[in-house]
Structure formats: C-alpha cells, structure tokens
C-alpha cells in the first residue's frame, strides 16, 4: 500500500527506549523499545496481560516508569503530568472508553478540549462532527445512554477535541459488532490519511496489520517481535501464536 505521506521527511514522533514499569513489586514492562514515526499507524499486538495497558498508562503519564525514556516530538516526557502530555498532543483513548456517563455528548466533547481553551473549540467540534455526524445528532443525550459503538465514537471524538498529533487507541474494537469493527478500522485509516499518527493497541491482529505500517508484539514484559506489517503477516511465529495457522 502506498501512503501519501511516505514522501514527507520521516522522524520519530514517539520514541520509547528501555522502558521498565510496573506496580509495586510486579514488573510488567521490562526494557520495552518502541517507535512511532510521524504519519504512521503502528499496531501494538499482544494477548491479555502482556502489558499493553501498562505501556499505554505509562505513555499517558498515569504510571511513572522505573527506568527508560519516552520522547515525544523530541522532548522527554517521563515524569511530566498527564495534563502536560495531553497538552503536548499525545492523547490516549482508553480501553473501556471512560467517557463521562453523567454528562451530555456535547459536554463530553467539550471536556475533550479542556486543555485547548474555548477559542479552538468550535473548530475542533466541527472537525469531530464531520467525522462522526451521529454524535452531532445526539449532542444532548447523556454519554452513559449511548450504544457501545456510539460510546467508542464519543471516546475517539473526545480525544480528537484536543488536537492530537498522536492518538493511542486502546482496543477500539472491543465489544463492537463485526460490522462496527469494520467501520472502526476504516475510520482509523481515514484519520491517519488526515495526517494523524496512531498507535493502535488491538487484539484483531489481521485487521490491525492490514491498516498498520509497522507492528510490535508485546509478550511477557517485552517486545518479542517487530517489523513492517507485511513482514509480520508472513511471520511463522506470529501466525502460530495469534492466527492459529
């Protein structure tokens, strides 16, 4: 697949080196290296408990790493606050959506732009509703009353309200019907074509590799496999562990 942005000067937008992280005495990540280049979709694959969520929470500043560095747009963000990381354009759309159930769709989106101030809000809102016209129809509905697919759209839309440069999508297809899963992957491709870099954390290995430029496989605290998506699709080890072939 030829990508439009391939001709741009490619530099690492996110660069993780030697990352160690965990909870109390439990080591969840042990020396993880990972990079996302500008304009890329990078898939992060791995079974439950492999440490994907811990990695995401470390990237978004919720967990402090024990060792290693995380560089985003050339700046080391280890030890900075989640709000600083959001403000610098690294947005984590979490697993389970984590939308505000007691607030309207409109308010959810407004909160997505909390760090951007009111001036940019109208512009970002227009962009989000262009991508998700269904959210605009439901502005006054409470977030908690939306269907699963709509909640996922709201979670991504909320993330887009803060003008992300890199979007971490954590299991966006979880709990969606096959038709909606298809829609979700098409959408991620569209967002990427608009210039957004994406770190896609998924269990849908096939579909993720189909839209990703590169992929990493996280297994038992470290990256065991990485490479271009096409190569990984051919990889015997991956086929055995994930695709059952």
């Amino acid at each position: 697949m030829v990508r439009r942005h391939a001709s741009l000067t490619v530099k690492s937008m996110l660069e993780v080196t030697g990352l160690h992280a965990g909870y109390d005495s439990l080591d969840v990540l042990h020396g993880v290296d990972l990079a996302v280049d500008e304009g890329q979709v990078v898939a992060l694959l791995g079974s439950n408990g492999a440490g994907k969520s811990t990695l995401n929470n470390t990237l978004s500043g919720i967990i402090r790493p024990r060792l290693g560095s995380i560089r985003f747009s050339g700046k080391d963000i280890v030890g900075t606050s989640p709000e600083y990381i959001v403000a610098s354009g690294l947005i984590h759309v979490p697993e389970g959506r984590r939308i505000f159930p007691n607030m309207s769709v409109l308010e959810n989106l407004e909160m997505g732009g909390y760090r951007r101030g009111r001036k940019c809000r109208a512009r970002n809102m227009a962009r989000v509703t262009e991508v998700f016209p269904r959210l605009a129809e439901r502005f006054s509905q409470l977030g908690g009353t939306l269907s699963g697919g709509e909640q996922q759209m709201l979670a991504i839309g909320r993330g887009m309200m803060s003008e992300p440069r890199l979007l971490i999508l954590d299991e966006p297809s979880l709990g969606l019907s096959p038709l909606l899963v298809e829609e979700m992957f098409t959408l991620i491709g569209q967002l990427n074509e608009q210039g957004l870099s994406v770190l896609l954390v998924e269990q849908n290995v096939f579909q993720s590799l189909a839209i990703a430029d590169r992929a990493y496989v996280l297994e038992n605290v470290s990256v065991t496999l990485q490479g271009a998506s096409a190569d990984l699709l051919d990889d015997a080890q991956l086929r055995r562990s994930y695709l059952g072939m």
Binding site: S60, I62, S81, P82, E83, I85, V86, A87, I91, H92, V93, P94, R97, R98, I99, F100, P101, N102, M103, E107, E110, M111, G112, Y114, R115, R118, R158, G159, M161, S162
Partner: protein, 300 residues
C-alpha cells in the same frame, strides 16, 4: 390528643402554617450546609467530618470581623466566602490529599482528625464561651399574617436559594464546573483528557468550605457561636444529604426544606427537646425504605 400517654397539643392552622414557614427558613440553612457536604461527597466519595468544624470556624471569622472591625455579618460574606474557599483548597491540597495517598478510608479519618484539631484549637484560642453578633435589625421583619418573619430568616432563604442557583450554573456552564462533574463520575477518563484531578479535588473542597462560610454569614445574626457549634448543623446536614440523595444538589435543597419543616413541626407538637427526634425518625425511615435518597442514583 393523647397518644401513648403523651399529651399531643392541638393547634389552629395559623400556628401550624407559621411553624412550617419558619421550618422553610431554617431548612434553607440546612440546605446550604448540606450543599457543601454533598458536593465533597460527590467528587471525593467521602463524608467530610471536618465540615462542622469549618462551619464553626467561619462563624468565628464572621464574629471577629464584626467585633473587631465592625463589619456587618452579611457584608462579611465578601471576605469569608473567598477565605473559606482558599482555606478548603489548601486544606485538601496540602493536608488531606497529601497524607491520604488517594485512599478513601484514609481521607475519611484525616477529615475526622482535622475536625478534632480545629475544635480544640478553637477551644484553646476562643474559650468555650458563647459569642454572638449583635445587629440592629435582628428583630425587624415582615408580618405574613400567620407568622412574623424576621429579616435574618428572609435573607437566609434568599441567600441559600441564590447560592444554590449560582452553584448549579457554575456546575453546568463553566469548564471548571464540568470538570468537577467529570471527575466525580470518571476520574480515569478525566485524567486522560488533561484534567488535573488533584486540583479539582481541592477546588471541590474549597467550594464546599465556601458554602459553610456563606451559611455562617447567614446564621450569625440569629445564632451564637461556640467551639461545638458545628455538630448540631452537620448532624442535621448529614440527614439532609442522605434524604436528598448523596451527591445531589436538588436533593440537598429539597432535603433541607423537608428536614427544616419536620423539625419545626416536631418542636411544636413534641416540645423543644423532643422535637428533634423527628429528624432521627426520618433518617431511619430513609435508610430502611429508600437508601439512595429522594434524588439519589443507584450506586454503580
């Protein structure tokens, strides 16, 4: 009327209506104290045991502003409300939040500790004497026919309603208010959109304290303050919060009025000392039949 050997007096409708009306005024103050309590509960998910001592401290602030500088208790609101906000903000940010490490049961105990410290400090510095503000208008008022309403009661009602309305507008119209609601229901999600959750905790604590500071201003013309002053109001405010539904503003307001009216009618029929028992009866009935309160949501 004679029930179980108790002489229950009978009154004309004017007396009963008059009593109920004074219950509305009293209830508006309960609502204001409960408002701060319910806000802190909604966001931090803890009962703030220091709420009563913060009310007492605010009453002393109003008293000393009047005694020392001659500032009218209502005018003192302009000072004690921002002062209360700052005090609450700093208390949460630098004491309660610091020592609790985010664990709810520790926060609960820390607020209890803060209450004990504040009360004993008040006893030490201000002594156990009752002190009261003297205003020239405390006995002036309006004759409503069935009852005579003094101006301090009218101001308390108007003040409570305005503050509730203001707080509601703040929570639904401003980014900070919306962030408070976001943190209340989804801390993790709030962090991920870039809301500083610790700051929002402190803001909520500050607003809760500002509410008792406002209540102190409204109470000062009619009530004398002493170091144990907070207990009475906060015990009743707990009941109001449970009745209205934990975390609900409308519930705090409605609950305040119900409790105020019940208390006054209880005093009328059962006498000054036994009258307060009606509040406990309501409290037990809610816990038995509707533990989520009138406007509460089922916990999830």
């Amino acid at each position: 009327m004679d029930i179980l050997g108790f002489q229950i007096p009978t009154y004309g409708w004017q007396t009963v209506t008059g009593s109920a009306i004074s219950g509305v005024f009293l209830g508006s103050i309960y609502a204001l104290v409960a408002l701060g309590l319910t806000l802190i509960y909604g966001v931090l998910h803890i009962i703030n045991f220091a709420h009563g001592s913060l009310l007492m401290l605010s009453m002393y602030a109003v008293f000393f502003l009047w005694a020392g500088l001659g500032i009218d208790p209502y005018l003192a609101m302009l000072l004690v409300v921002p002062g209360g906000y700052l005090f609450g903000y700093v208390l949460q940010r630098s004491v309660i939040g610091q020592v609790s490490h985010g664990r709810d049961e520790i926060i609960l105990l820390v607020t209890l500790g803060v209450a004990i410290v504040i009360e004993n400090a008040a006893l030490f510095f201000f002594s156990a004497d009752e002190r009261s503000v003297q205003v020239p208008y405390d006995l002036d008022g309006l004759d409503l026919g069935v009852t005579f309403v003094v101006y301090p009661e009218l101001v308390a009602l108007a003040g409570s309603l305005l503050i509730t309305l203001g707080l509601w507008l703040f929570m639904t119209r401003t980014d900070t208010g919306k962030a408070i609601r976001a943190v209340a229901k989804e801390r993790e999600g709030a962090r991920l959109v870039g809301i500083n959750v610790e700051h929002i905790f402190a803001v909520s604590f500050g607003i809760g304290t500002a509410c008792v500071a406002a209540a102190a201003s409204l109470l000062a013309p009619t009530y004398a303050v002493h170091p144990q002053f907070g207990y009475l109001f906060v015990l009743i405010a707990f009941t109001v919060v449970v009745l209205g539904g934990m975390g609900s503003f409308v519930g705090a307001l409605a609950g305040g009025f119900v409790i105020g009216i019940t208390e006054q009618l209880g005093r009328l029929y059962l006498g000054e000392s036994l009258g307060l028992i009606t509040i406990s009866v309501i409290f037990i009935l809610i816990l038995l039949f509707r533990p989520t309160g009138l406007f509460g949501q089922t916990p999830h």
